[in-house]
Amino acid sequence: MTGTSLKTYALTRLALVVPMVLILLTFVFLLMRVAPGNPIAAALGGHVPPSVIQRISHRLGYDKPIYTQYGDYLWGVLHGNLGRTITDRRAVSSIIVENGGATLELTVAASFVAMVVGLVVGLLAGRFRDTWIDVSGRLFGIVAYAMPVFFLGFLAQLLFGIWLGWLPTSNQASPITQAFLPVHSHILFIDAIWAHNWGALWDVVKHLILPATTLGIVIGGVFIRLVRINVIRSLKDDYVEAARARGIRERSVVYRYAFRNALVPVVTVVGLQLALLLGGAILTEETFNWPGIGSTLVSYLAERDYAGVQGIVVVFALVVVVASLLIDFVNAFIDPRIRY
């Protein structure tokens, strides 16, 4: 009975992915067409007569009826062809691979920082409830979450990059490292290990510290409150009372029993925060000149590059949708009450 229900649930959720992505795709397509300007005008305007721009726009089909353009685009997407960008002729798939690696590196490192910050501060705040540790932890969580990530990034650059001079302020690695490190995975951290170049690895890590910590602290602000609440709740549970009654040390009660159980809902939220992570990554990439997919999206937006924007947004949407789907499946597997 349970197996059949889970299967139905899984199929239903999978089937819902298609309309979700289609709606988003359509929304982005229309938004780009409605916004003033087009990629040809953006590239050549102010330099060639309007007749030249019109001629080129006609050649590329931008004066076709919007439903025709939409149909052409959908047809391409359905055949796995996300197209080429208009401004620099890059295949959207290659953007995902090349720049996606940089974003993956940043978001994984930021997630790690977020988890460490969130778990440690949240645990301490929950454990020492209503003390100065709790107040400081909660305040830190609120400020971290409320602070714009780019502002925190600027402060970090100023403090650690300029005043203290400890860390680099931008890019994924130093120019020389980036120029000469052989590319295999488009993730410099992995490529440095692959090449057994420990100097390059340290260079990459140094460059990763500020942007990952900046983004991680902002995301960690969410986890702090969640962990704190769950630790407090767990500490009130009967099994904790029972453990205390059996004479188990308070330290073990908190860290071995209450904390582990408090983590279960946190794991769920981690996946749901993916959208927040990707959105924050865009701003972080802009601040630190990080060559990820987010900053690439911003560039194509400014240039009204329809293919670039649509392609990248579709991939973002798919990543978030698939991650949400996996989290839902895990939850449905764990908790049979979650069904349609």
Binding site: T87, T169, G199, F288
Partner: protein, 526 residues
């Protein structure tokens, strides 16, 4: 227990020291890496294939890999002079131009350079006609023929006295190897690029970095460095941080006025300022176009009044901290044929009295209400301050009541004169000649769509294109400038400088700062 703990601590310390020693090793410690020049820029790259770009950022990359037939600069030598062609001249009527090519030149892959490559390069630029490309600059080219391996003949549709200046641009004259490049489509930017220039493009990571190594087959003097890396930045403040920290050796395009003022005070870098050729100007709709949009600039007296009030000195000093110079003609100062036409007609400094007098004479009621448009980021973040100063000057005269509106570039440039009656634009020349500051703006078919169409100007433009001597051409250019100032559909107000900022160990920067705005990295040493 205690002993065990001590053992763990000791082992951990040894491991930490070992890791620290390993990681502290330089990633690439060769002395050659130390001689590679690292440049930062906020420009972007579109298509590295010369047939597919018409933007400054990509041209900068192309200048390192490819050569033109003729060159302009460095320094004051702006007249077209030999590069891949040793001699180019008109055969009689300015419609046919013959070039003799340099012998013994090889491409970076060892292939020999011949006239076939030249014909191929021009033909493919026209055939591909890329939307982002520069084929619009060679629309006058009817055909290209060869006469032996070292002679090329260009057949134009109409006489063009500035054809040699066109050959100094990236317009289809960046010569590519006909054995490598496809004839009817662009070579991808990440595919091998083969040219005769001083460098080879080792790798290109879009939006991140372009890496160049020295071309061993280069026909000219060996570059003064072991290679170049161009790092791309999204904004100038991040680039400035990287420069002051020593992460890059130099940067030249583009810093904000505030960043430059701050960098001038820095002890770790030096700011170099050279001649520039970029200009800013105010466009005003005229005639029926202005009436349609409801702006008062349809009347000559109104445009003249605005010209009398233009606060050039305030913009140059207050907004740009002296990093631009007031400009009194659409033709950049320093170019042959330049005259300060606006200074002659409207004075060097703003004059409210003269503005009032010209409006009174034309029986124009004041204050006149209209909107001025500008774009906030495309020409730099200082545009907002720039136009605030213009608004302040006009409103303070009590003759005008100006409001400002702005739009981002992609939407701003789409309709220009047909929806914006008075608006900001900038110009960077395709080739450094007075003609390129007149023809795009005044004769019939100009891109501004502001309604300006003067029979006299059209006649002068045709005469200039067919002028048989430089002296005659420059005389016409001067006449065009005076007429432009009299009719005043546009008001130029500043001219930039080519500015580069470099760390103290970089040499040769001043040798490449000139109105061509080409950063000749091969002249720089470290």
């Amino acid at each position: 227990m205690r002993k065990g703990r001590v053992r763990w601590l000791f082992a951990g310390s040894v491991a930490a020291i070992a890791v620290a020693v390993a990681l502290s090793a330089s990633a690439y410690g060769s002395s050659k890496a130390g001689k590679i020049l690292v440049d930062g820029t906020t420009e972007t790259v579109t298509n590295i294939d010369p047939a597919g770009n018409y933007d400054y950022g990509t041209a900068t990359v192309d200048y390192l890999i490819f050569n033109r037939l003729l060159a302009a600069g460095p320094g004051k030598n702006l007249t077209p002079h030999p590069e891949l062609a040793t001699k180019c001249s008109s055969v009689g009527n300015l419609k046919t131009w013959a070039c003799t090519l340099r012998k013994g030149v090889k491409f970076s892959n060892g292939d020999s350079f011949t006239s076939t490559d030249v014909k191929f390069s021009f033909d493919r630029t026209i055939a591909i006609n890329d939307p982002s490309g520069i084929s619009s600059l060679i629309t006058n080219l009817a055909s290209t023929t060869t006469s032996g391996p070292y002679k090329v003949v260009f057949h134009l549709k109409h006489p063009q006295s500035t054809w040699l200046q066109v050959l100094t641009t990236t317009a289809g004259s960046m010569i590519v190897d006909h054995k490598v490049y496809p004839a009817n489509k662009l070579q991808s930017s990440t595919s091998p690029q083969v040219g005769t220039g001083p460098y080879i493009l080792k790798s290109y990571n879009p939006g991140q970095q372009a890496v160049f190594t020295v071309n061993p087959h280069y026909w000219g003097p060996k570059p003064k460095n072991a290679g170049v890396i161009i790092n791309y930045y999204k904004d100038s403040s991040t680039m400035k941080l990287a420069l002051t920290k020593g992460e890059i050796d130099m940067a030249y395009d583009q810093f904000s006025p505030t960043d430059l003022t701050s960098l001038k005070k820095s002890s770790s870098v030096k700011v170099y300022i050279g001649a520039g050729a970029g200009i800013r100007y105010l466009v005003m709709d005229v005639g029926k176009q202005a009436t349609k949009l409801g702006v008062p600039t349809g009347k000559l007296a109104v445009r003249q009044a605005i010209a009398y009030l233009m606060p050039r000195q305030t913009i140059a000093s207050r907004v740009y901290h002296g990093q631009v110079s007031p400009l009194y003609s659409m033709v950049a100062k320093g170019l042959p044929g330049h005259i300060d036409a606006f200074k002659t007609l409207y004075g060097a400094k703003p004059s409210v009295a003269k503005a009032r007098a010209v409006l009174k004479k034309a029986h124009v009621k004041t204050p006149l209400k209209f909107t001025i448009w500008y774009t906030p980021t495309h020409y730099g973040a200082a545009s907002a301050d720039e136009y605030a100063e213009i608004q302040r000057a006009l409103n303070a005269s009590k003759l005008f009541n100006v409001t400002l509106k702005s739009a981002e570039w992609a939407g701003y440039v789409n309709t220009l004169g047909t929806t914006k009656g008075v608006f900001q634009l900038g110009w960077f020349p395709d080739y450094v000649d007075g003609e390129d500051y007149i023809n795009p703006f005044y004769p019939k078919g100009q891109f501004l769509s502001n309604g300006y169409n003067s029979a006299k100007m059209n006649k002068l433009a045709l005469k200039e294109e067919g002028a048989k001597s430089t002296k005659a051409r420059l005389k016409i250019i001067k006449q065009e400038q005076m007429l432009a100032a009299k009719n005043v559909p546009l008001i130029p107000y500043w001219q930039n400088h080519m500015v580069a900022v470099a760390r103290k160990n970089v040499g040769g920067v001043t040798s490449t700062l000139d109105p061509t705005y080409i950063m000749r990295f091969w002249l720089l040493s470290k």
